[in-house]
């Protein structure tokens, strides 16, 4: 029994890791006032890049780096189109999703069905990993897990306790006020979009080089969209993103736990999406005001310099 519980928790944490990474990135992007719906595409692109680089070099760390760079680069398209050309952020994000999925399918084709010989290994933290249950869950995971937690804490700290954090948040809330205080709003927005892309790329690489060790088309299976919903649940706060990510990680795992009970796997597969809708509905009923208060005030609006 204890073993089953441990294994569920371990898998929950693993399934939650890409969600956590993606959500952190989207939180940063949206805090600067840019809605990027292209997570699914950027994740996919990161997954294929990470896989190919790991496959060719045999080094999953290089794969991770490549995926981060790939994610940041492809997000640059969104930054250019929405910040410089003031285009509709919803449509641009959709275009980015299509492009990311398309490119990853195109480049990943030769690698379908060829598993990696290496993958990101689990790292055992001495002593701590011997703690019952939690040791296995928290201290005997691969590098992505430790990095995601570390980066998550870093994002939380930077957003809350540094001047950069104040700047980013101000740009999303009131870009005009930031501009009159001498801040380069355009640059901040570009950088935040690229940070979001980098996180999404890394999340993708986790899927293809740590979660599984193969590349399949469509392996992101809607995680990018769940990330966008998670950003709302988290009320745009990095600390709350941790809870959301692992709860949804748990829902991904529960599907497999419940399957032996004879419930249709297809109905179980709906769970993450139903939960997303359910939680949004619940939020809509209970805290419309709070959510409105939390959303960055200029999210999704183009900023035109010098306008009044």
């Amino acid at each position: 029994m204890l073993e089953i519980l441990t294994s569920i928790l371990v898998r929950t944490v693993v399934a939650g890791t890409p969600l956590l990474l993606g959500t952190m990135g989207e939180v940063v992007t949206e805090r600067a006032g840019i809605l990027n719906l292209g997570i699914e595409g950027m994740m996919s692109f990161g997954a294929v890049t990470g896989f190919i680089v790991t496959f060719t070099t045999g080094n999953p760390w290089l794969g991770m780096m490549a995926a981060i760079i790939a994610g940041a680069l492809i997000s640059l398209i969104h930054a250019f189109v929405t910040v410089s050309l003031r285009a509709n952020q919803v449509v641009s994000g959709l275009a980015l999703t299509m492009l990311g999925i398309g490119l990853s399918g195109l480049w990943g084709k030769p690698y379908i069905g060829r598993p990696l010989s290496v993958k990101m290994h689990a790292i055992e933290i001495p002593f701590l990993s011997k703690i019952p249950i939690l040791g296995k869950v928290l201290f005997y995971q691969d590098a992505y897990f430790y990095l995601s937690v570390g980066l998550g804490i870093l994002v939380w700290f930077v957003m809350k306790h540094t001047k950069v954090g104040i700047t980013v948040r101000s740009v999303g809330e009131n870009p005009k006020a930031a501009e009159t205080m001498g801040i380069n709003v355009t640059m901040v927005k570009y950088l935040c979009v690229m940070i979001g892309g980098a996180f999404a790329g890394m999340a993708g690489a986790h899927l293809s080089t740590a979660y599984s060790k193969s590349w399949i088309e469509g392996m992101t299976s809607g995680r990018g969209w769940i990330v966008i919903a998670l950003t709302i649940f988290a009320l745009w706060e990095p600390s709350k993103a941790f809870i959301g990510a692992y709860v949804f990680g748990g829902i991904f795992v529960i599907q497999y736990v419940l399957q032996p009970l004879g419930i249709s796997p297809n109905l179980l597969a709906m769970l993450p999406y139903l939960t997303t809708l359910g939680v949004l509905l619940f939020y809509g009923l209970s805290s419309k005001g709070q959510r409105k208060m939390s959303a960055p005030a200029t999210l999704g609006e183009p900023y035109i310099r010098g306008s009044r």
Binding site: V90, S92, T97, L99, G102, I228, I232, T276, L277, L280
Partner: protein
């Protein structure tokens, strides 16, 4: 030295058209670069795509077949996007329409003649897709839920539900080992022209729907109100327009026509419900660009739908002949859409090169 951006007062239809064509060309150029990086001769690939889709009689028939769902869905999306309601859920509105159509066809089909059962199936599909489309409208206006997320979640839910049906309760008794329902009875199947997969009825239906929606948008009170809501919600408030009612009607129609596309695919091509990827080759997503390329004019989606149907058919062709994966179409879609919205910037703004005066 710097670039100065100034709002453009007015874009003439010619300029509009030129920018549209330039955007398309730039998009194709970008696709060419992607092909080049992949080691494929871009001119050859793009030539192949258009040769396969528009260059032969056989190919063109296939293009017409695929244009039907794109036109139906695209014109419905154009309607929603006119009101700035970002419905990304046409894929599942199509599926729910197909579910309703299947149920009616399988249950009532055997005992009714074709001229009754087919209209019933389409009516059912319209209602099914429409009801599914109402959900995000209610979610948005009553609960403040972003329609992009809700329509996407509904996509996944509907897709899983279809899978559940075809491997579970609706699995056909005659379909050993396959995830299909039974085939529709013969009177519930649309006739094809000659030895093609083209159904004349469907083509007429798609064109009529697109023209009807264009009429709706540009000639009716409802369409007028939709355009005012989309262009200036403040003015809509001033003009006393009821947001909730108008959005509900709009999404019922938008979802409904996607449902028609679902029944069309079912009764003309597949003849049974099967996996969602089979029923719809991503039509719901491609139609987003169809609507955008049609400049959100439901009537223009007849042409943009045909164009993208060609790209899908051509994509399939090079997939077979050059070993490209099916998602190559997504590269086309994504790049063309990006360049289209880039083009919008030049429709609305002029860019001048100016020496900075010190």
């Amino acid at each position: 030295m710097s670039f100065v951006i100034i709002p453009r007062e007015k874009a003439t239809p010619l300029l509009n058209f030129m920018i549209l064509i330039s955007s398309l060309c730039a998009g194709l150029l970008a696709v060419g670069i992607v092909f080049l990086l992949k080691g494929v001769n871009p001119f050859f690939a793009i030539h192949e795509i258009f040769r396969a889709s528009f260059g032969s009689f056989f190919g063109f028939k296939e293009t017409l077949t695929k244009a039907v769902p794109l036109i139906l869905i695209g014109s419905g999306l154009a309607l929603a996007y006119k009101a700035k309601f970002w419905n990304i859920g046409a894929e599942s509105q199509l599926l729910v329409g197909a579910i309703f159509g299947t149920w009616i066809g399988l249950n009532w089909g055997p005992s009714l003649p074709g001229f009754i059962i087919l209209p019933l199936m389409f009516a059912g599909g319209f209602i099914g897709g429409g009801l599914w489309g109402l959900l995000p409208a209610i979610f948005k206006i009553k609960f403040g839920i972003n329609e992009v997320i809700s329509t996407l979640m509904l996509n996944y839910i509907a897709a899983e539900f279809v899978k559940f049906l075809v491997v579970g309760p609706w699995k056909g008794k005659t379909k050993y080992g396959y995830p299909y329902t039974d085939d529709l009875p013969a009177q519930a199947v649309l006739q094809h022209m000659g030895n093609s997969r083209v159904s004349l009825v469907l083509i007429i239906l798609a064109v009529c729907v697109a023209l009807f929606l264009a009429f709706l948008v540009f000639r009716t009170r409802f369409g007028y109100e939709i355009r005012v809501i989309g262009e200036n919600p403040e003015a809509a408030r001033y003009a006393g327009i009821n947001f909730f009612r108008t959005t509900l009607i709009m999404m019922f129609i938008g979802g409904g026509v996607a449902g028609l596309a679902g029944v069309g695919e079912l009764s003309s091509i597949h003849l049974h419900l099967s996996y969602p990827e089979t029923i719809s080759a991503g039509y719901g997503f491609t139609a987003i660009i169809v609507a955008w390329l049609g400049r959100l004019h439901p009537g223009f989606t007849i042409f943009s739908g045909l164009f993208f149907a060609g790209i899908i058919v051509g994509g399939d062709a090079i997939q077979m002949s050059m070993g490209m994966p099916a998602t190559t179409v997504n590269v086309f879609n994504g790049l063309i859409l990006i360049f289209l919205i880039m083009g919008d910037f030049f429709i609305n703004h002029k860019v001048r090169y100016q020496r900075r005066v010190s």
